[in-house]
């Protein structure tokens, strides 16, 4: 009875939302989008918001990857919030998994193939993760996926060496320093140009590694932060082993 009710409710919600989502134009030409309006200067622009991003994005931010341009520069403040969300998640997991008298779990060794394989792969995975976030402004990827890849390298270590244990102090220091970098970059922009998170460094030549101003700096900070936070979550979940 309860289950039937739940299914009926789910189908009802699905239909109601499907009727609304049907009306969304999908794959339509960008020129038909409504033009945006600037509420501060009270002017209507002659193009839509996505069009503006694609047309002027490279000039505005210096990044060739438009997703990064939007994520880190146009809407960098949201990204700061999202980084904080992840920070909160890792802090919350840490505070919930905290136990005063740690009971040490007995674990077995995993086999030699896994150990050797993960030893070989660990460095490469870290390198790949670092590549993803360092080149975030040029190629697809960025701080979040790069950090996640780095954390998955640590996950491999946890699986291969059951006694492996990352130092919590070190992880929290690295995530704090990365977070502080992000906020301080923002505050420097506020001091220099009067806008928080202003891209105050020179843009350089597009498609070069040292371009797009503060974007690589912020993405490296995000990568380190996400990597250490996700590792901390995995570490807290694993508990203490002997």
């Amino acid at each position: 009875m309860k289950k039937a009710l739940a299914i009926v409710l789910a189908i009802l919600i699905f239909i109601v939302f499907a009727l609304a989502f049907v009306k969304i134009p999908f794959g339509e030409k960008m020129s038909t989008y409504p033009h945006y309006y600037n509420p501060i200067t009270n002017q209507t622009s002659n193009m839509s918001l996505p069009q503006h991003y694609l047309t002027y994005g490279k000039n505005d931010t210096g990044a060739t990857n438009m997703v990064t341009a939007i994520v880190v520069d146009y809407r960098g403040f949201d990204t700061l919030g999202e980084v904080t969300v992840l920070f909160l998640a890792s802090t919350g997991v840490g505070s919930l998994m905290y136990v005063e008298n740690k009971v040490k779990k007995k674990v077995r060794r995993s086999n030699a193939v896994v150990e050797t394989g993960s030893k070989l792969l660990f460095g490469f995975i870290i390198l790949f993760g670092a590549y993803i976030f360092i080149h975030g402004h040029l190629t697809p990827g960025g701080g979040f996926p790069g950090g996640a890849v780095i954390a998955s390298a640590f996950l491999l270590l946890y699986l291969a060496y059951p006694k492996f244990h990352a130092k919590h102090e070190k992880l929290s220091v690295s995530e704090s320093i990365a977070g502080l970098t992000f906020v301080i970059v923002g505050l420097i922009g506020l001091i220099i140009a009067g806008y928080f998170l202003y891209n105050f460094l020179p843009f350089g030549l597009p498609t070069y590694l040292f371009s797009a101003g503060v974007i690589p700096l912020i993405y490296v900070a995000i990568g380190v932060k996400v990597g250490s936070e996700l590792t901390a979550i995995v570490d807290s979940m694993m508990g203490v082993r002997e």
């Binding site: 997703v67 993803i132 697809p140 979040f144 996926p145 890849v149 996950l155």
Partner: protein, 82 residues
């Protein structure tokens, strides 16, 4: 119908099936693995819809890390749902 549409329809159907399996399985470990498969297929869909950034993130977080965290959580309770 071109190949793109056929492939995406097949992938969407697999996504729905794995999602239902993940919700209905009494064996929590299998449910977690079904969830991982779902994330992987969703990430392929993202890639097909030309969102490589989202696809990378979804593959790394959805298929690897969150599944690992769920499995660690299952390990500290029981494997079978009552």
């Amino acid at each position: 119908m071109d190949l793109f549409t056929i492939v995406s329809i097949i992938l969407i159907i697999i996504t729905v099936i794995t999602a239902i399996i993940a919700a209905e399985m009494k064996d929590l470990l299998s449910a977690a693995i079904a969830l991982g498969i779902m994330s992987l297929i969703v990430s392929i869909l993202f890639y097909m819809l030309q969102a490589p950034d989202v696809a990378i993130t979804e593959a790394a977080i959805g298929a690897a890390l969150s599944m690992a965290v769920v499995i660690f959580a299952i390990r500290s309770t029981e494997r079978w749902e009552k």
